[in-house]
């Protein structure tokens, strides 16, 4: 999840810099990572959860965590596919798109820490989950800034649609990350 999110941010930066070749390479990497993530998920479900490696309640909670993490990776892939889908990169791109991409990457970075601490320190995991919520909030605010610029600064309809779609998908990645953080926080509150 974290690697694919980092590559997405790199891809967006390359896209803004009009480096189509690099964008295509990074998108291929992201697609490959998403497939690997799916395989890992299936392996966990078929060979670990179904073999009763954990108690029932733990299995349910771990399963939800796995599904939510997979959803983050899926959203990252969706975003990457949108990046690749337009042959000609628009001439005019809101600079906030670069900021939004970095915020989204930061969100998944924080999520990685939250997951790491979930196993050993509920309190830290809980605090990080609140940070993720704030980061997601920033992402959403950045999106509305972009949207406002698209509506008011003379972008072509095609660019408006495409850039809005891209920005929205970046926010979806942050939202998916927040959902994982919410689940971690719920576990921390429940068991501490």
């Amino acid at each position: 999840m974290q690697v694919s999110s980092a590559k997405l941010n790199e891809a967006v930066q390359a896209w803004i810099a009009k480096d189509k070749k690099k964008v295509d390479e990074l998108v291929e990497d992201i697609i490959e990572l998403e497939r690997e993530a799916d395989e890992v998920k299936e392996d966990i479900i078929q060979n670990i959860f179904s073999k009763r490696a954990f108690l029932r309640q733990s299995t349910e909670e771990r399963y939800i965590l796995v599904e939510l993490l997979d959803h983050v990776t899926t959203e990252v892939e969706e975003c990457a596919l949108i990046l690749r889908s337009k042959d000609k990169i628009p001439d005019k791109i809101p600079e906030e798109l670069k900021v939004l991409s970095e915020i989204t990457w930061k969100c998944t970075d924080q999520l990685q820490d939250a997951i790491k601490f979930m196993w050993t320190d509920y309190e830290k995991a809980r605090k990080i989950s609140f940070k993720i919520e704030k980061t997601r909030d920033k992402a959403r605010n950045e999106y509305y800034t972009i949207f406002s610029r698209l509506m008011n600064e003379g972008y072509s309809p095609e660019s408006v649609y495409y850039l809005d779609r891209l920005a929205k998908e970046l926010v979806e990645v942050a939202l998916a990350g927040e959902n994982v953080a919410d689940h971690i926080r719920a576990l921390a509150v429940k068991y501490s």
Partner: protein
């Protein structure tokens, strides 16, 4: 005792014990917490119940069988009516509702029914009846409080642990799962002794001296009957309590079971006919309440209603059966 009558009564005891086994929910917390599957739980419960019946059943038998009438002794026909009444109600409720009811209530209700019909209410020993009734009321209250205290204590101990994380929580739940398995075996053992009394108590009431039945024979037949009833039909009741009242984790199930085992062990040793069903259901509600888990009050309501109607229905069944039996005996058909 005439050998044919003895054989008939033993067969009846087996059927009654089978019926009691169909309503044995002692292993339900382990199934609810996901520690055992239903199949494994009922097999273990059945085997342990047999040992409980043989080792602990004698103490309780004497109380229930001989204490409920003032001067009269239960006749053979009365005993048969009591046994059949209890059997009918237990099997009906287990097979069609999967609802855990108190076998002690069934027996006491049936005895009251036949005694009332034959000798009137004055013959009923209300001191003993009151003592039993108080046991029914107090045991769930103690079960509720005991389970809640134990569960809250466990939660508090967790919250003051130095390092807290999901890994630590899982280790604790794993330990609780092992503890739960041990305690439920202990509970089944105690309950085997307590519940078998309900099947053999009327037999023990037949008298003393050369007509009395060897307790170990009666307890053996009772124990085996209960085990088979549990394995074949009791799984329905186990599933109801495991999944339809409250959602359980190993630690919450252990808290409930600890409460039940301790109360049942002490009560059985003291010769009190406690209701394991009352204690267990109350304990499960307690851990649900303490753990802020949803309690399915519709399921609880169904169970409570069945408890309330068990004594009168058992009394009516037994009275009708006894009256019918008396009629056929008078006609010299038996």
């Amino acid at each position: 005792m005439d050998p044919f009558i003895l054989a008939g009564v033993l067969l009846l005891t087996f059927i009654v014990a089978f019926a009691i086994g169909t309503n044995d929910e002692a292993m339900a917390p382990a199934v609810g917490a996901g520690v055992f599957s239903v199949g494994i739980a009922v097999v273990i419960g059945g085997i342990v119940s047999i040992f409980g019946a043989l080792i602990m059943g004698k103490g309780v038998s004497e109380k229930v069988g001989l204490g409920l009438t003032k001067t009269e002794s239960l006749t053979d026909l009365m005993i048969i009516a009591i046994l059949i009444s209890m059997t009918l109600w237990l099997i009906l409720v287990s097979l069609y509702g999967g609802i855990p009811i108190s076998t002690t209530q069934c027996v006491v209700g049936a005895i009251i029914g036949v005694v009332w019909i034959e000798w009137g209410l004055n013959e009923i020993n209300f001191d003993t009846t009151t003592e039993i009734f108080i046991g029914w009321v107090i045991s769930p209250l103690i079960g509720f409080v005991g389970a809640a205290v134990i569960f809250i204590t466990i939660q508090k101990m967790r919250s003051i642990s130095i390092v807290q994380g999901y890994t630590n929580y899982e280790k604790q739940e794993q330990i609780a799962a092992y503890g739960l398995a041990v305690f439920l075996i202990w509970t089944s053992f105690s309950r085997g002794g307590n519940d078998v009394a309900n099947a053999v108590a009327p037999l023990m009431a037949l008298g003393s001296g050369e007509n009395s039945l060897d307790p170990m024979v009666a307890l053996s037949v009772g124990g085996i009957g209960m085990a088979i009833g549990l394995i074949l039909i009791g799984r329905k009741v186990v599933e109801t309590l495991a999944h339809e009242v409250v959602s359980l984790s190993p630690s919450s199930a252990l808290s409930a079971s600890l409460s039940v085992s301790v109360i049942m062990f002490v009560g059985t040793a003291a010769g009190l006919p406690l209701s394991g069903s009352h204690i267990l259901v109350a304990a499960l509600i307690a851990v649900g309440w303490a753990g802020r888990t949803d309690v399915e009050f519709d399921a609880v309501k169904k169970i409570l209603i069945s408890w309330i109607i068990t004594v009168p229905i058992s009394a009516i069944f037994a009275a009708v059966l006894y009256t019918g039996g008396t009629y056929f005996v008078d006609l010299n058909l038996f």
